[in-house]
Amino acid sequence: MFAGYDFDVIQRSLPYLFRDGMTFTVTLTLIAMSGGIVFGTLLAMMRLSSFTPLSALSGGYVNLMRSVPLVLVIFWFFFLVPYIGAWAIGANEPIRVGAFWSAAITFTMFEAAYYCEIMRAGIQSIPRGQVWSGYALGLDYWQTMGHIVLPQAFRNMVPVLLTQTIILFQDTSLVYVISATDFLGAASKIANRDYRLVEMYTFVAVVYFIISYALSQVVRRLQDRIAVIR
Protein backbone atom coordinates (compact mmCIF):
# COMPACT_ATOMS: atom_id res chain seq x y z
CA MET A 1 0.00 0.00 0.00
CA PHE A 2 2.86 2.39 0.71
CA ALA A 3 4.72 1.45 -2.45
CA GLY A 4 6.01 4.54 -4.15
CA TYR A 5 6.06 6.57 -0.96
CA ASP A 6 9.30 7.50 0.74
CA PHE A 7 8.79 7.91 4.46
CA ASP A 8 12.53 8.25 5.03
CA VAL A 9 12.19 11.87 4.07
CA ILE A 10 10.60 12.44 7.45
CA GLN A 11 13.49 11.02 9.36
CA ARG A 12 15.98 12.97 7.30
CA SER A 13 14.23 16.22 7.97
CA LEU A 14 13.34 15.68 11.63
CA PRO A 15 16.03 17.99 13.02
CA TYR A 16 14.93 20.80 10.71
CA LEU A 17 11.24 20.18 11.35
CA PHE A 18 11.56 20.26 15.10
CA ARG A 19 14.54 22.49 15.80
CA ASP A 20 13.37 25.21 13.43
CA GLY A 21 9.72 24.56 12.77
CA MET A 22 8.32 23.29 16.05
CA THR A 23 10.39 25.74 18.08
CA PHE A 24 8.83 28.58 16.13
CA THR A 25 5.35 27.15 16.61
CA VAL A 26 5.71 26.52 20.34
CA THR A 27 7.40 29.84 21.07
CA LEU A 28 4.73 31.68 19.12
CA THR A 29 2.00 29.79 20.97
CA LEU A 30 3.49 30.52 24.39
CA ILE A 31 4.04 34.20 23.68
CA ALA A 32 0.57 34.68 22.21
CA MET A 33 -0.95 32.77 25.11
CA SER A 34 0.77 34.82 27.86
CA GLY A 35 0.32 38.12 26.06
CA GLY A 36 -3.22 37.21 25.07
CA ILE A 37 -4.25 36.27 28.59
CA VAL A 38 -2.78 39.45 30.09
CA PHE A 39 -4.27 41.71 27.42
CA GLY A 40 -7.51 39.70 27.41
CA THR A 41 -7.88 40.06 31.18
CA LEU A 42 -7.45 43.82 30.90
CA LEU A 43 -10.06 43.85 28.14
CA ALA A 44 -12.41 41.82 30.34
CA MET A 45 -11.96 44.26 33.23
CA MET A 46 -12.66 47.15 30.86
CA ARG A 47 -15.68 45.37 29.47
CA LEU A 48 -17.13 44.88 32.94
CA SER A 49 -16.45 48.47 33.91
CA SER A 50 -19.45 50.63 34.73
CA PHE A 51 -17.75 53.46 32.84
CA THR A 52 -19.45 53.16 29.45
CA PRO A 53 -16.66 54.46 27.15
CA LEU A 54 -14.29 51.82 28.54
CA SER A 55 -16.71 48.93 28.17
CA ALA A 56 -17.80 50.09 24.71
CA LEU A 57 -14.20 50.36 23.53
CA SER A 58 -13.39 46.89 24.76
CA GLY A 59 -16.64 45.43 23.43
CA GLY A 60 -16.00 46.97 20.00
CA TYR A 61 -12.49 45.59 19.88
CA VAL A 62 -13.55 42.09 20.88
CA ASN A 63 -16.41 42.00 18.40
CA LEU A 64 -14.20 43.29 15.60
CA MET A 65 -11.53 40.65 16.21
CA ARG A 66 -14.11 37.92 16.43
CA SER A 67 -15.77 38.88 13.16
CA VAL A 68 -12.76 38.89 10.84
CA PRO A 69 -10.97 35.78 9.58
CA LEU A 70 -7.65 35.22 11.31
CA VAL A 71 -5.80 34.77 8.01
CA LEU A 72 -6.74 38.28 6.99
CA VAL A 73 -5.60 39.71 10.29
CA ILE A 74 -2.24 37.97 9.99
CA PHE A 75 -1.87 39.20 6.46
CA TRP A 76 -2.81 42.78 7.17
CA PHE A 77 -0.73 43.01 10.29
CA PHE A 78 2.32 41.77 8.46
CA PHE A 79 2.02 44.67 6.06
CA LEU A 80 0.74 47.25 8.50
CA VAL A 81 2.87 46.69 11.60
CA PRO A 82 6.04 48.21 10.06
CA TYR A 83 4.09 51.38 9.25
CA ILE A 84 2.27 51.53 12.58
CA GLY A 85 5.57 51.00 14.37
CA ALA A 86 7.21 53.76 12.37
CA TRP A 87 4.34 56.10 13.15
CA ALA A 88 4.48 55.18 16.85
CA ILE A 89 8.18 55.98 17.24
CA GLY A 90 8.13 58.80 14.73
CA ALA A 91 10.48 57.20 12.22
CA ASN A 92 10.42 58.19 8.55
CA GLU A 93 10.70 54.71 7.10
CA PRO A 94 8.68 51.63 7.95
CA ILE A 95 10.43 49.72 10.70
CA ARG A 96 11.63 46.21 10.07
CA VAL A 97 9.59 43.59 11.86
CA GLY A 98 10.36 39.95 11.16
CA ALA A 99 7.68 37.39 10.39
CA PHE A 100 7.99 36.00 13.91
CA TRP A 101 7.33 39.22 15.79
CA SER A 102 4.66 40.25 13.36
CA ALA A 103 2.93 36.94 14.01
CA ALA A 104 3.47 37.20 17.77
CA ILE A 105 1.81 40.62 17.90
CA THR A 106 -1.03 39.51 15.64
CA PHE A 107 -1.82 36.37 17.60
CA THR A 108 -1.59 38.18 20.93
CA MET A 109 -4.05 40.83 19.77
CA PHE A 110 -6.36 38.32 18.11
CA GLU A 111 -6.40 35.72 20.87
CA ALA A 112 -6.88 38.43 23.50
CA ALA A 113 -10.43 38.81 22.19
CA TYR A 114 -11.14 35.15 22.95
CA TYR A 115 -9.28 35.10 26.27
CA CYS A 116 -11.23 38.25 27.16
CA GLU A 117 -14.54 36.44 26.84
CA ILE A 118 -13.24 33.56 28.95
CA MET A 119 -11.90 35.83 31.68
CA ARG A 120 -15.09 37.86 31.62
CA ALA A 121 -17.10 34.72 32.34
CA GLY A 122 -14.57 33.82 35.03
CA ILE A 123 -14.80 37.19 36.73
CA GLN A 124 -18.59 37.12 36.59
CA SER A 125 -18.61 33.68 38.20
CA ILE A 126 -17.10 35.13 41.40
CA PRO A 127 -19.89 36.07 43.83
CA ARG A 128 -20.46 39.79 44.38
CA GLY A 129 -19.88 39.23 48.10
CA GLN A 130 -16.21 38.47 47.45
CA VAL A 131 -15.75 41.91 45.96
CA TRP A 132 -17.67 43.49 48.80
CA SER A 133 -15.60 41.77 51.42
CA GLY A 134 -12.41 42.88 49.67
CA TYR A 135 -13.62 46.47 49.58
CA ALA A 136 -14.87 46.22 53.16
CA LEU A 137 -11.32 45.41 54.28
CA GLY A 138 -10.19 48.64 52.66
CA LEU A 139 -8.65 47.15 49.53
CA ASP A 140 -8.96 49.33 46.43
CA TYR A 141 -10.16 48.18 42.99
CA TRP A 142 -6.78 46.93 41.76
CA GLN A 143 -5.99 45.15 45.03
CA THR A 144 -9.41 43.50 45.12
CA MET A 145 -9.00 42.38 41.52
CA GLY A 146 -5.40 41.29 41.95
CA HIS A 147 -5.67 39.43 45.25
CA ILE A 148 -9.25 38.20 45.30
CA VAL A 149 -11.19 38.18 42.04
CA LEU A 150 -8.60 37.38 39.38
CA PRO A 151 -6.82 34.53 41.19
CA GLN A 152 -10.15 32.77 41.68
CA ALA A 153 -11.44 33.59 38.20
CA PHE A 154 -8.19 32.43 36.65
CA ARG A 155 -8.14 29.16 38.51
CA ASN A 156 -11.74 28.43 37.65
CA MET A 157 -11.03 29.15 34.01
CA VAL A 158 -7.71 27.32 33.57
CA PRO A 159 -9.29 24.40 31.69
CA VAL A 160 -11.11 26.72 29.26
CA LEU A 161 -8.02 28.91 28.83
CA LEU A 162 -5.96 25.83 27.99
CA THR A 163 -8.56 24.57 25.55
CA GLN A 164 -8.41 27.92 23.80
CA THR A 165 -4.61 27.60 23.78
CA ILE A 166 -4.85 24.25 22.00
CA ILE A 167 -6.89 25.98 19.30
CA LEU A 168 -4.27 28.73 19.21
CA PHE A 169 -1.54 26.11 18.82
CA GLN A 170 -3.27 24.77 15.73
CA ASP A 171 -4.09 28.23 14.38
CA THR A 172 -0.45 29.30 14.43
CA SER A 173 -0.03 27.17 11.29
CA LEU A 174 -1.80 29.98 9.43
CA VAL A 175 1.45 31.94 9.46
CA TYR A 176 2.15 30.21 6.14
CA VAL A 177 0.50 33.25 4.51
CA ILE A 178 3.47 35.34 5.52
CA SER A 179 5.91 32.55 4.58
CA ALA A 180 7.08 31.98 8.14
CA THR A 181 8.87 28.74 8.93
CA ASP A 182 6.69 27.25 11.61
CA PHE A 183 6.23 23.49 11.90
CA LEU A 184 3.85 23.34 8.95
CA GLY A 185 5.91 25.86 6.99
CA ALA A 186 9.08 23.82 7.50
CA ALA A 187 7.33 20.63 6.48
CA SER A 188 5.86 22.19 3.39
CA LYS A 189 9.26 23.51 2.32
CA ILE A 190 10.68 20.00 2.47
CA ALA A 191 7.58 18.59 0.82
CA ASN A 192 7.94 20.88 -2.16
CA ARG A 193 11.71 20.56 -2.40
CA ASP A 194 11.71 16.75 -2.40
CA TYR A 195 8.28 16.43 -3.91
CA ARG A 196 7.03 14.36 -0.94
CA LEU A 197 3.73 16.09 -0.27
CA VAL A 198 1.69 13.13 0.96
CA GLU A 199 4.36 11.90 3.33
CA MET A 200 5.10 15.28 4.87
CA TYR A 201 1.54 16.47 5.25
CA THR A 202 0.47 13.16 6.75
CA PHE A 203 3.28 13.42 9.25
CA VAL A 204 2.36 17.01 10.11
CA ALA A 205 -1.26 16.03 10.70
CA VAL A 206 -0.24 13.15 12.97
CA VAL A 207 2.07 15.37 15.02
CA TYR A 208 -0.58 18.09 15.44
CA PHE A 209 -3.09 15.44 16.41
CA ILE A 210 -0.86 13.78 19.01
CA ILE A 211 0.11 17.04 20.67
CA SER A 212 -3.39 18.49 20.68
CA TYR A 213 -4.93 15.27 21.90
CA ALA A 214 -2.38 14.84 24.69
CA LEU A 215 -2.96 18.43 25.81
CA SER A 216 -6.70 17.99 25.84
CA GLN A 217 -6.28 14.95 28.07
CA VAL A 218 -4.16 17.02 30.44
CA VAL A 219 -6.93 19.62 30.52
CA ARG A 220 -9.46 16.95 31.41
CA ARG A 221 -7.36 15.75 34.32
CA LEU A 222 -6.82 19.29 35.55
CA GLN A 223 -10.46 20.18 35.41
CA ASP A 224 -11.45 18.49 38.65
CA ARG A 225 -8.33 19.38 40.53
CA ILE A 226 -7.68 23.02 40.09
CA ALA A 227 -10.98 24.83 40.69
CA VAL A 228 -11.19 26.78 43.94
CA ILE A 229 -13.11 24.81 46.51
CA ARG A 230 -15.67 26.90 48.30
Binding site: G129, S133, G138, L139
Partner: protein
Amino acid sequence: MISLKNVAKWYGSFQVLADCSTEVAKGEVVVVCGPSGSGKSTLIKCVNGLEPFQKGEITVDGISVGDPKTNLPKLRSRVGMVFQHFELFPHMTVMQNLTLGQVKVLGRSREEALQKGMKLLERVGLSAHKDKFPAQLSGGQQQRVAIARALSMDPIAMLFDEPTSALDPEMINEVLDVMVELAKEGMTMMVVTHEMGFARKVARRVIFMDAGRIVEDAGKEEFFGTPRSERAQLFLSKILHH
Protein backbone atom coordinates in the same frame (compact mmCIF):
# COMPACT_ATOMS: atom_id res chain seq x y z
CA MET B 1 -19.91 57.52 65.61
CA ILE B 2 -22.27 56.56 62.77
CA SER B 3 -24.91 59.01 61.71
CA LEU B 4 -27.50 58.78 58.93
CA LYS B 5 -29.56 61.78 57.87
CA ASN B 6 -32.52 61.42 55.52
CA VAL B 7 -30.83 58.76 53.41
CA ALA B 8 -32.67 57.73 50.25
CA LYS B 9 -31.69 55.30 47.55
CA TRP B 10 -33.21 54.10 44.28
CA TYR B 11 -32.55 51.13 42.04
CA GLY B 12 -33.73 52.68 38.81
CA SER B 13 -37.23 53.85 39.63
CA PHE B 14 -37.60 51.47 42.60
CA GLN B 15 -37.02 53.19 45.92
CA VAL B 16 -35.15 50.88 48.30
CA LEU B 17 -34.49 53.38 51.08
CA ALA B 18 -36.62 56.36 52.00
CA ASP B 19 -35.77 59.07 54.47
CA CYS B 20 -33.68 56.91 56.81
CA SER B 21 -32.19 58.73 59.79
CA THR B 22 -30.53 57.31 62.87
CA GLU B 23 -27.43 57.48 65.02
CA VAL B 24 -25.14 54.91 66.54
CA ALA B 25 -23.11 56.42 69.35
CA LYS B 26 -19.64 55.25 70.34
CA GLY B 27 -19.83 51.96 72.21
CA GLU B 28 -23.48 51.48 71.35
CA VAL B 29 -25.00 48.31 69.93
CA VAL B 30 -27.95 48.86 67.61
CA VAL B 31 -29.93 45.98 66.16
CA VAL B 32 -31.71 46.39 62.82
CA CYS B 33 -34.58 44.06 62.00
CA GLY B 34 -37.49 43.90 59.62
CA PRO B 35 -39.12 41.69 57.02
CA SER B 36 -37.25 40.33 54.00
CA GLY B 37 -36.70 42.92 51.29
CA SER B 38 -37.22 45.86 53.64
CA GLY B 39 -33.79 47.27 52.84
CA LYS B 40 -31.72 46.23 55.87
CA SER B 41 -28.75 44.94 53.86
CA THR B 42 -28.88 47.93 51.57
CA LEU B 43 -28.90 50.32 54.51
CA ILE B 44 -25.95 48.71 56.24
CA LYS B 45 -23.96 48.58 52.98
CA CYS B 46 -24.53 52.28 52.51
CA VAL B 47 -22.81 52.92 55.84
CA ASN B 48 -19.39 51.89 54.53
CA GLY B 49 -20.06 52.97 50.97
CA LEU B 50 -20.43 49.52 49.43
CA GLU B 51 -23.70 50.79 47.99
CA PRO B 52 -24.00 54.36 46.73
CA PHE B 53 -27.03 56.39 47.80
CA GLN B 54 -28.58 59.33 46.05
CA LYS B 55 -29.90 61.51 48.85
CA GLY B 56 -29.09 62.39 52.41
CA GLU B 57 -25.85 62.15 54.34
CA ILE B 58 -23.99 59.42 56.19
CA THR B 59 -21.00 60.17 58.36
CA VAL B 60 -18.71 57.73 60.11
CA ASP B 61 -16.48 59.24 62.78
CA GLY B 62 -17.26 62.62 61.26
CA ILE B 63 -16.25 61.65 57.72
CA SER B 64 -18.90 61.89 55.03
CA VAL B 65 -19.36 58.60 53.15
CA GLY B 66 -21.17 60.12 50.18
CA ASP B 67 -18.62 62.86 49.57
CA PRO B 68 -16.75 62.07 46.32
CA LYS B 69 -13.58 63.49 47.90
CA THR B 70 -13.64 60.93 50.72
CA ASN B 71 -11.01 58.23 50.53
CA LEU B 72 -13.43 55.28 50.70
CA PRO B 73 -10.88 52.46 51.00
CA LYS B 74 -9.35 54.24 53.96
CA LEU B 75 -12.72 54.80 55.59
CA ARG B 76 -13.73 51.17 55.01
CA SER B 77 -10.50 49.90 56.51
CA ARG B 78 -11.64 51.47 59.78
CA VAL B 79 -15.09 49.87 59.73
CA GLY B 80 -15.31 46.08 60.04
CA MET B 81 -18.00 44.23 58.14
CA VAL B 82 -19.33 40.69 58.53
CA PHE B 83 -21.56 39.16 55.86
CA GLN B 84 -24.34 36.61 55.88
CA HIS B 85 -22.34 34.22 53.71
CA PHE B 86 -19.01 34.81 55.51
CA GLU B 87 -17.21 35.76 52.27
CA LEU B 88 -13.86 34.44 53.37
CA PHE B 89 -11.42 34.24 50.47
CA PRO B 90 -11.60 30.56 49.49
CA HIS B 91 -8.21 30.46 47.75
CA MET B 92 -6.37 31.64 50.87
CA THR B 93 -5.73 29.92 54.17
CA VAL B 94 -7.40 31.17 57.32
CA MET B 95 -4.21 33.00 58.31
CA GLN B 96 -3.82 34.56 54.86
CA ASN B 97 -7.38 35.81 55.15
CA LEU B 98 -6.43 37.46 58.42
CA THR B 99 -3.22 39.08 57.22
CA LEU B 100 -4.16 40.32 53.73
CA GLY B 101 -5.79 43.56 54.83
CA GLN B 102 -3.27 44.22 57.58
CA VAL B 103 -0.35 43.99 55.17
CA LYS B 104 -1.86 45.51 52.01
CA VAL B 105 -3.99 48.22 53.56
CA LEU B 106 -2.46 49.05 56.93
CA GLY B 107 1.11 48.40 55.79
CA ARG B 108 1.95 46.19 58.75
CA SER B 109 4.91 43.86 58.52
CA ARG B 110 4.21 40.19 57.94
CA GLU B 111 5.39 39.25 61.43
CA GLU B 112 3.22 41.85 63.04
CA ALA B 113 0.21 40.74 60.98
CA LEU B 114 0.81 37.07 61.80
CA GLN B 115 1.04 37.87 65.50
CA LYS B 116 -2.16 39.87 65.44
CA GLY B 117 -3.86 37.15 63.40
CA MET B 118 -2.80 34.49 65.87
CA LYS B 119 -4.08 36.50 68.81
CA LEU B 120 -7.47 36.94 67.16
CA LEU B 121 -7.73 33.28 66.18
CA GLU B 122 -7.07 32.34 69.79
CA ARG B 123 -9.76 34.74 70.82
CA VAL B 124 -12.37 33.08 68.59
CA GLY B 125 -11.03 29.66 69.55
CA LEU B 126 -9.70 28.62 66.15
CA SER B 127 -5.92 28.85 66.39
CA ALA B 128 -5.60 25.15 65.52
CA HIS B 129 -7.16 25.87 62.12
CA LYS B 130 -4.87 28.66 60.94
CA ASP B 131 -3.45 26.77 57.96
CA LYS B 132 -6.73 25.32 56.75
CA PHE B 133 -8.74 26.63 53.85
CA PRO B 134 -12.19 28.10 54.55
CA ALA B 135 -13.94 25.19 52.79
CA GLN B 136 -12.48 22.85 55.43
CA LEU B 137 -14.29 24.67 58.25
CA SER B 138 -17.90 24.52 59.39
CA GLY B 139 -20.16 27.50 58.81
CA GLY B 140 -19.90 28.64 62.40
CA GLN B 141 -16.12 28.41 62.30
CA GLN B 142 -15.99 30.33 59.02
CA GLN B 143 -18.10 33.11 60.45
CA ARG B 144 -15.85 33.35 63.51
CA VAL B 145 -12.85 33.64 61.19
CA ALA B 146 -14.71 36.36 59.29
CA ILE B 147 -15.22 38.27 62.53
CA ALA B 148 -11.55 37.82 63.40
CA ARG B 149 -10.62 39.07 59.93
CA ALA B 150 -12.68 42.22 60.42
CA LEU B 151 -11.14 42.74 63.86
CA SER B 152 -7.62 42.36 62.46
CA MET B 153 -7.97 45.87 61.04
CA ASP B 154 -8.59 47.36 64.52
CA PRO B 155 -11.93 48.83 63.44
CA ILE B 156 -13.62 51.71 65.22
CA ALA B 157 -17.03 50.14 64.50
CA MET B 158 -18.43 46.84 63.23
CA LEU B 159 -21.27 46.19 60.82
CA PHE B 160 -23.01 42.80 60.74
CA ASP B 161 -25.46 41.72 58.03
CA GLU B 162 -27.42 38.70 59.29
CA PRO B 163 -24.27 36.97 60.57
CA THR B 164 -26.11 33.88 61.79
CA SER B 165 -28.90 33.38 59.28
CA ALA B 166 -26.92 31.10 56.96
CA LEU B 167 -25.88 28.85 59.85
CA ASP B 168 -27.25 25.57 61.11
CA PRO B 169 -29.07 26.14 64.42
CA GLU B 170 -26.42 24.40 66.51
CA MET B 171 -23.76 26.81 65.26
CA ILE B 172 -25.59 30.04 65.89
CA ASN B 173 -24.54 30.39 69.50
CA GLU B 174 -20.82 30.02 68.95
CA VAL B 175 -21.01 33.07 66.68
CA LEU B 176 -23.38 35.03 68.91
CA ASP B 177 -21.09 34.41 71.89
CA VAL B 178 -18.22 36.10 70.08
CA MET B 179 -20.48 39.02 69.20
CA VAL B 180 -21.79 39.38 72.74
CA GLU B 181 -18.27 39.47 74.09
CA LEU B 182 -17.35 42.12 71.54
CA ALA B 183 -20.34 44.19 72.56
CA LYS B 184 -19.42 43.92 76.22
CA GLU B 185 -15.94 45.19 75.44
CA GLY B 186 -17.52 48.37 74.17
CA MET B 187 -17.34 47.88 70.41
CA THR B 188 -19.65 50.12 68.41
CA MET B 189 -21.90 47.74 66.49
CA MET B 190 -24.70 47.95 63.96
CA VAL B 191 -26.21 44.50 63.61
CA VAL B 192 -28.85 43.32 61.15
CA THR B 193 -30.29 40.22 62.79
CA HIS B 194 -33.45 38.45 63.75
CA GLU B 195 -31.83 36.96 66.84
CA MET B 196 -33.95 38.74 69.41
CA GLY B 197 -32.14 36.96 72.23
CA PHE B 198 -28.98 38.76 71.14
CA ALA B 199 -30.86 42.04 70.93
CA ARG B 200 -32.26 41.57 74.44
CA LYS B 201 -28.85 40.76 75.84
CA VAL B 202 -26.66 43.54 74.42
CA ALA B 203 -28.56 45.98 72.23
CA ARG B 204 -29.14 49.51 73.40
CA ARG B 205 -31.66 50.27 70.64
CA VAL B 206 -33.64 48.34 68.06
CA ILE B 207 -34.46 49.70 64.61
CA PHE B 208 -37.37 48.19 62.74
CA MET B 209 -37.48 48.66 58.97
CA ASP B 210 -40.33 48.13 56.56
CA ALA B 211 -40.45 48.92 52.83
CA GLY B 212 -37.28 50.98 52.93
CA ARG B 213 -38.29 53.11 55.90
CA ILE B 214 -37.19 53.15 59.48
CA VAL B 215 -40.56 52.59 61.09
CA GLU B 216 -39.39 52.22 64.64
CA ASP B 217 -36.20 53.37 66.37
CA ALA B 218 -36.57 52.76 70.05
CA GLY B 219 -34.75 51.74 73.20
CA LYS B 220 -34.66 48.00 73.72
CA GLU B 221 -37.13 47.93 76.62
CA GLU B 222 -39.58 50.11 74.79
CA PHE B 223 -39.31 48.08 71.60
CA PHE B 224 -39.85 44.73 73.25
CA GLY B 225 -42.46 46.17 75.60
CA THR B 226 -44.90 47.85 73.27
CA PRO B 227 -43.73 48.66 69.77
CA ARG B 228 -45.70 51.63 68.51
CA SER B 229 -46.27 50.45 64.97
CA GLU B 230 -48.60 47.64 64.08
CA ARG B 231 -46.14 46.27 61.54
CA ALA B 232 -43.49 45.89 64.19
CA GLN B 233 -45.89 44.18 66.57
CA LEU B 234 -46.91 41.72 63.88
CA PHE B 235 -43.28 41.10 62.93
CA LEU B 236 -42.26 40.54 66.54
CA SER B 237 -45.10 38.16 67.25
CA LYS B 238 -44.07 36.14 64.19
CA ILE B 239 -40.39 35.80 64.95
CA LEU B 240 -40.74 35.38 68.69
CA HIS B 241 -43.10 32.48 68.31
CA HIS B 242 -40.67 30.02 66.79
